[in-house]
């Protein structure tokens, strides 16, 4: 008998605290896939037309993650996140969002905005030691996909797609958005096979600087993100 009383008294004290200030964690996960399967790095796989490829590296930046609800912006994450298929802990972003906000869609930038690109050196995920910064021509690499494909007549059949660039007309970062369920974590698939089927290693094997082609491929990269429907 005493217990419920104690509890409700406690609740009365605690309730005022759960107003505006309280936050909860909203997880946003990025799931590298190859077609329908989870992406396996360093393993031979086949594209739809049978072309054998191996993926050795997939890294990209996600920034300005924004949650929207009822037509309004309800939350903006100021951080830039480096997602690296090799590092499982990097695949999930934990957002500390205010309790009680409405969420019906999410949007984010695939890549780094122009202002950050011209503002000097940063630490954390943006530290130039992460291998996502061009040394000889300032700017972040937004998306880095490397591997091998027999169709590439390069050293060890390597392909390297380094997409970036912050200056017009070759501004490279792409905004991506989806409708999402109001509750629960958000899982986003990133389909490397779909990217390669349109990037066509063999027709081109290396993109290493900002260009029109890099912008086209960034649009392709943006198109291979989708809300996961694993159940």
């Amino acid at each position: 008998m005493l217990r419920p009383v104690c509890l409700s008294v406690l609740l009365c004290f605690l309730l005022p605290c759960t107003g505006q200030d309280a936050t909860f964690i909203k997880h946003v996960g990025f799931v590298p896939v190859f077609s329908k399967e989870a992406l396996q790095l360093h393993q031979a796989v086949k594209l739809a037309d049978g072309t054998p490829v191996t993926i050795d590296r997939l890294r990209f930046y996600v920034s300005q993650i924004t949650l929207h609800g009822q037509g309004r912006t309800s939350f903006v994450d100021p951080a830039c996140h480096l997602i690296d298929a090799e590092i499982p802990s990097s695949l999930e972003v934990a957002l500390m969002v205010p309790q009680g906000i409405h969420v019906d869609s999410i949007s984010f930038l695939l890549g780094i905005d122009s202002l950050t690109n011209v503002s000097g050196a940063f630490g954390g995920d943006l530290d130039p030691t992460k291998g996502m910064y061009w040394a000889w021509n300032s700017g972040y690499i937004n998306w880095k996909l490397e591997g091998t494909c027999t169709k590439c007549e390069t050293l060890k059949n390597q392909f390297e797609f380094h997409l970036g660039g912050y200056l017009p007309p070759y501004f490279n970062a792409q905004r991506i958005g989806f409708a999402v369920p109001a509750q629960g974590p958000i899982a986003i698939d990133v389909d490397v096979a779909a990217f390669l089927e349109r990037a066509k290693p063999g027709e081109r094997c290396a993109i290493m600087s900002p260009s029109k082609e890099a912008v086209e491929l960034a649009r392709v990269a943006a198109s291979v993100f989708s809300i996961a429907d694993h159940d």
């Binding site: 503002s119 000097g120 050196a121 530290d127 130039p128 030691t129 040394a135 021509n137 300032s138 260009s211």
Partner: protein, 398 residues
């Protein structure tokens, strides 16, 4: 073990675990109070800290923890000058710097660390080349008498190393503007296969393993963690202190000295033909222009167009400062001219009327032999010996 050495052990331990004590206090400037040895302070602070935590663990007194807390507070407060803020002296009449110091506040320790890095071949793959190999302080930080700079393993770079000065006012860097911020500039020579041939992640690894650097990063940033960002910002800090503003020209402007007739005549010619691009007080606008050089036959360097992809930028290069131009020979991005006289002869006789030639030079520059001599005399008034021989810029000796 003496007390001092205990402190050193504690200090080392704390550095290793990268405790951040006063990082948030960097950049807060206070009127300068007498500074005791900062190292000494730092070790005392940590020593005090461990002493206090031992104190707190002792079971018998309730007042002691309070006392300890007060003591700790006092100890931390006493060391807010670590690292010691530095205010850059802006020469009178100069515009505000373009560098955003709020993101990288200058400190005595940060500048010292940057200077050490600048002179340390640890930044290159074969540990022979340092920044100073191509940027020598005595010659306004350029590579004297090399048309294009030498790098590691005697490979030859494709461009002439520019003089380094007044970088707090710089816009885009490099001859083609490939680099957009001083903080990220060092990445280019470090990674360039013909310059230092290293990888920034590996350099940071080498610094972490080195005996001295963790302590120096601790002094500069309040904790011993070495990151790419911190390394680059320290280098910037040193480079930002390289201000040249005490040439005869500056003293003449301030009324402290007078030009000779020849120099005064040269100044008039300069104002008529050169000032649009080489604009005082920096003697550059920071913009890009085609000053009528024929495309070089070896590298076919198209300059700015390589970066923007815009054909109207073809053969445009960054307008270099003319301060200390006496020392920055050979001249132009590829070092094609050996003397100032040759440069002026180029402007007077050699302008190539290309599609992108600067409008200021379209009509040519007419200069008599005497006028050319006067112009050279004026350019020599831009030399700043105090800058070149400033002991604070030279190799750090300890």
């Amino acid at each position: 073990m003496t007390e001092r050495s205990t402190c050193n052990v504690v200090l080392k331990k704390c550095r290793a675990t990268a405790v951040r004590f006063s990082g948030h206090l960097c950049g807060i400037s206070r009127p300068s109070t007498p500074i005791l040895s900062l190292r000494f302070f730092a070790s005392w602070r940590l020593c005090g800290y461990s002493f206090i935590s031992a104190f707190q663990r002792s079971p018998f007194s309730r007042t002691k923890p309070v006392l300890a807390a007060v003591l700790l507070f006092v100890l931390i407060a006493a060391t807010t000058q670590h690292p010691e803020p530095v205010q850059l002296k802006i020469p009178a009449g100069w515009p505000a710097p373009t560098y955003d110091f709020s993101k990288n506040p200058l400190t005595k320790e940060g500048i010292a660390l940057g200077r050490k890095l600048f002179y340390d071949p640890i930044l290159s793959v074969d540990s022979i080349v340092s920044c100073s190999s191509c940027h020598l302080s005595y010659t306004a930080f350029t590579h004297v008498d090399h048309a294009v700079s030498h790098g590691i393993r005697d490979r030859i770079g494709t461009r002439n190393s520019p003089a380094l000065m007044n970088l707090a006012w710089s816009g885009l860097l490099m001859w083609d503007g490939a680099v957009n911020h001083l903080d990220v500039q060092a990445l280019a020579p470090i990674a360039h296969p013909d310059e230092m041939g290293e990888d920034i992640a590996h350099v940071v690894e080498k610094l972490r393993r080195s005996g001295r650097y963790p302590g120096l990063f601790y002094d500069a940033f309040g904790d011993a963690t070495i990151t790419g960002e911190r390394m680059l910002k320290a280098l910037s800090q040193f480079e930002l202190t390289l201000i040249s503003a005490n040439s005869k020209y500056d003293r003449a402007q301030a009324g402290l000295e007078t030009f000779t007739d020849q120099e005064a005549s040269g100044y008039r010619i300069f104002k008529a033909h050169c000032i649009a691009c080489h604009r005082p007080p920096l003697f550059t606008t920071g913009a890009f222009a085609n000053n009528g050089l024929a495309v070089d036959t070896v590298y076919h360097d198209l300059g700015r167009m390589k970066i923007t992809g815009d054909p109207t930028d073809s053969l445009k290069f960054k307008i270099p400062t003319l301060r200390n131009v006496e020392f920055s020979f050979p001249y132009m991005h590829d070092g094609r001219f050996k003397s100032l006289r040759q440069v002026i002869d180029h402007y007077a006789e050699g302008l190539v009327q290309g599609r992108t030639l600067a409008p200021e030079l379209r009509d040519g520059v007419t200069l008599s032999k005497n006028e050319r001599t006067d112009l050279v005399a004026f350019l020599l008034t831009l030399s700043d010996r105090e800058f070149c021989f400033n002991p604070d810029h030279a190799f750090p000796r300890e």
